[in-house]
């Protein structure tokens, strides 16, 4: 329970500091000692901020909330990797035992034209909400649903829909993509609803509206490098992008 034990490390941090989206940013260096290997990465940043406040330096702003890998609020490019080095892990679930004494860690915000920096490591991801508002739903008003067991859905289909539905909307896919593409994010929702019978009536209009909004928000194109899948903390497969592309093609033929 004691933090000052012999396993504790000294870590050298290089952190992106930017006062607002109107000002230029730059990297700042900080050294943090007494970092316990059992700490989470964000607890390490909490400790940095307490130290900075004692030194009368403004603490580093970063987004975080649930700290259990599900809300999608945390972000961070850590040594060039979205959510850090560990596969299938959000930044909040990354632990300092992944690092060793004396390591240097470079921390930057998500970098994408569609995600402007708000402050330091915080970016604006509202473009994702706008894509969802364009079609990421089934148009069913409260109260008008039939009995839940009225339509049987094969277990394998429900499971595959769930694989896609696990997306936490963090934006790592966009940050990891050299084109800043949001294809994996959009495909996860399109594919989930396209697999389920409930999504069928609006399948064509949904994919068209969401793709159009994605383009309008300034996300780049997909060039099939699958960096998004490697960075995705929920392991969402690029197969969903293939399904979305089929749906998109189908929707344009139906026109």
């Amino acid at each position: 329970m004691n933090n000052s034990n012999k396993n504790n490390m000294t870590i050298h941090l290089k952190v992106w500091r930017q006062a607002s989206n109107k000002e230029k940013g730059k990297m700042e260096s900080y050294t943090l000692s007494d970092v316990s290997p059992d700490m989470s990465f964000l607890e390490m940043l909490d400790q940095l901020n307490l130290k900075l406040m004692k030194e009368k330096i403004e603490p580093v702003s970063f987004d975080h909330d649930c700290r259990e890998g599900i809300c999608g609020m945390c972000s961070l490019m850590i040594n060039g990797h979205a959510h850090g080095p560990q596969l299938l892990t959000t930044t909040c679930q990354l632990h300092m035992r992944e690092y060793k004494d004396g390591d240097e860690i470079v921390i930057e915000p998500w970098r994408s034209r569609a995600f402007p920096v708000v402050k330091d490591l915080v970016v604006d991801r509202s473009a994702f909400d706008k894509i969802m508002a364009a079609g990421g739903f089934v148009s069913v008003n409260t109260g008008s649903a039939p009995d839940a067991n009225g339509t049987a859905i094969a277990k394998v289909v429900a499971d595959e829909a769930m694989d896609a539905a696990q997306c936490i909307g963090c934006g790592a896919c966009v940050a990891a993509c050299e084109n800043g593409s949001a294809m994996l994010f959009v495909a996860a929702k399109v594919s989930q609803l396209s697999l389920l019978p409930q999504g069928q009536p609006e399948a064509a209009s949904r994919v068209k509206s969401m793709v159009a909004k994605m383009d309008e928000m300034g996300f780049g194109n997909c060039t099939n490098h699958s960096e998004c899948m490697a960075a995705c903390p929920k392991g969402i497969s690029v197969e969903h992008i293939a399904r979305m592309n089929r749906d998109f093609l189908k929707s344009s033929l139906l026109q």
Binding site: P59, E68, A165
Partner: protein, 640 residues
Amino acid sequence: MSSHKLDSKVPSGSIDQKWNQHKFQSKMINPSNKRKYKIIVVGTGLAGSSAAASLAQLGYEVSAFCIQDSPRRAHSIAAQGGINAAKNYQNDGDSVQRLFYDTIKGGDFRAREANVYRLAQVSTSIIDQCVAQGVPFAREYGGTLSNRSFGGAQVSRTFYARGQTGQQLLLGAYSALMRMVGLGKVKLYPRREMTELVLVDGHAKGAVFKNLITGEYESHAADAVILATGGYGNVYYLSTNAMACNTSANWAAYKKGAFFGNPCYTQIHPTCIPVHGENQAKLTLMSESLRNDGRVWVPKKVGDTRPPDQIPAEERDYYLERIYPSFGNLAPRDISSRQAKNMCDEGRGVGSSGLAVYLDFKDAIQRDGKSVVEGKYGNLFDMYQRITAENPYDVPMRIFPAVHYTMGGLWVDYNLMSTIPGLHVLGEANFSDHGANRLGASALMQGLADGYFVIPYTIGNYLAASASKKIETNHEAFKEATEASLIRENKFLNIKGSKGAMEYHKDLGKIMWDSVGMSRSEAGLKKAISDIQKLRHEFHQNVNVPGSAKGFNPELIRAFRVSDFLELGEVMARDALERNESCGGHFRDEFQTEDGEAKRDDENFCHVAAWEFQGVDKAPNRHQEKLEFENVKLSTRSYK
């Protein structure tokens, strides 16, 4: 003190007819007139998103506010295990009556019967609605929905989506909300903190919000205000709540006259990953569903430090199975947590801190095979391993109770309206349905029941009956509220003390956990009250809030929230002190049976305690709403 101010407005008639009758007798608003009414919804979790979407579908003009960058991030998203509904798809004897009974009993007879019955009634429609939205619940090979049993229930009525049920339900409600945003029927305001509730002639007519990006204050006028702002578990600093969960919107309403119901009823969840060190900022829950297959045990011998695999079966105490043979490892949360604490207090806790018990899957793996266990709990096992660096397939998990949910909240009547006319409170933010202990998989049910199926009916009744006087944001009351917010933040920024708000929060959490946690005593509570007062005083002299009022400043917002928790903590301790009985999650050392179980006092405490603000450093007034049990017989809750 009984109070004329607390009229529960429970309709007359038999319990199964109350809601239907009430809906029929409620005043209606013509569809084309609904667009003339503006409603503010604060919070976009299950209750807030479902309410905002449903009210906009009816035609109301809705504005939705949240503290995160997107409504999809509200903490409902973290719920793992499932959602209850009385569908009886498993043919195992479930019914509305049984869900009602289990919830009343689970809440240790401290919830309002009529609300709970309505909750059980609408539970079935929730599942229908979610499936229609495309929520991918777990299914059987035949294509029908799957169910599992959950703590405190003897039927399988819990619907689930792997270990991410809250996420899937919230994304369903969020999709409904975003659809209405896209149609222009809901205006969405993310990254906004509500700082003041605005009252005009005693009615809630709007609120003032701080824009967390610009730092500016924004006024919003409305005909009614809905708070769906969640629980206050973070008063303990360490909890399973997200970091941003707070009581501030509720507290602003409390300070404007909304009564706070049963603040001392908190739920300590039995299966969380134990604390690792002083720098820990948050605790992680391991879903209660694990207790379906995991067996909880500690060594029989005090101070037994052998590794678990070297302790033979006959030297292990499977204490839940021993003490509660009929429910075993599925005993309700309050009981399981308290027994874990008892084992550790006896010196039989495990791990380096001695503050943990084992949750062992060895027998389940031997019985069903590793792949079956992996199929059910794989993601939870992975999460455990990521945090602790131990493999739960090989060594038993170590678990310990942690603060998880708060049953208390703003007092509401049957219409979900607080003591401030026009102010409605939904989900965990209100006090109404779970009594002194919430059953597993009931929080999601309540949040969605309130938002989809209750408030759309009851708010119309208020709007139709109240004067249709339109208030604009140029009204004096908005200026005053904005001015109050500005004065408050300048005060914080000018203290320039030496200790961060997070450190004060941690100090408060220690007091709360030690004295207002799993067991409470008169002496401990009295000391907690004076310790919190001292800490609060010091905070206002010495807190260090860096940065400025303009722009993005998370430390300033943290100071707001910690300041409110420092007031709430005292009211919780006062509530616990006045309630001279043990019930559910509220356990007073002085009031226990011979075998250490909670001892209720139905003669003197079969009531809701609702607290009325009198000033920060003044004791609040305690009011009572008597609870009537006409359909369930008051009895000693037993899981043996």
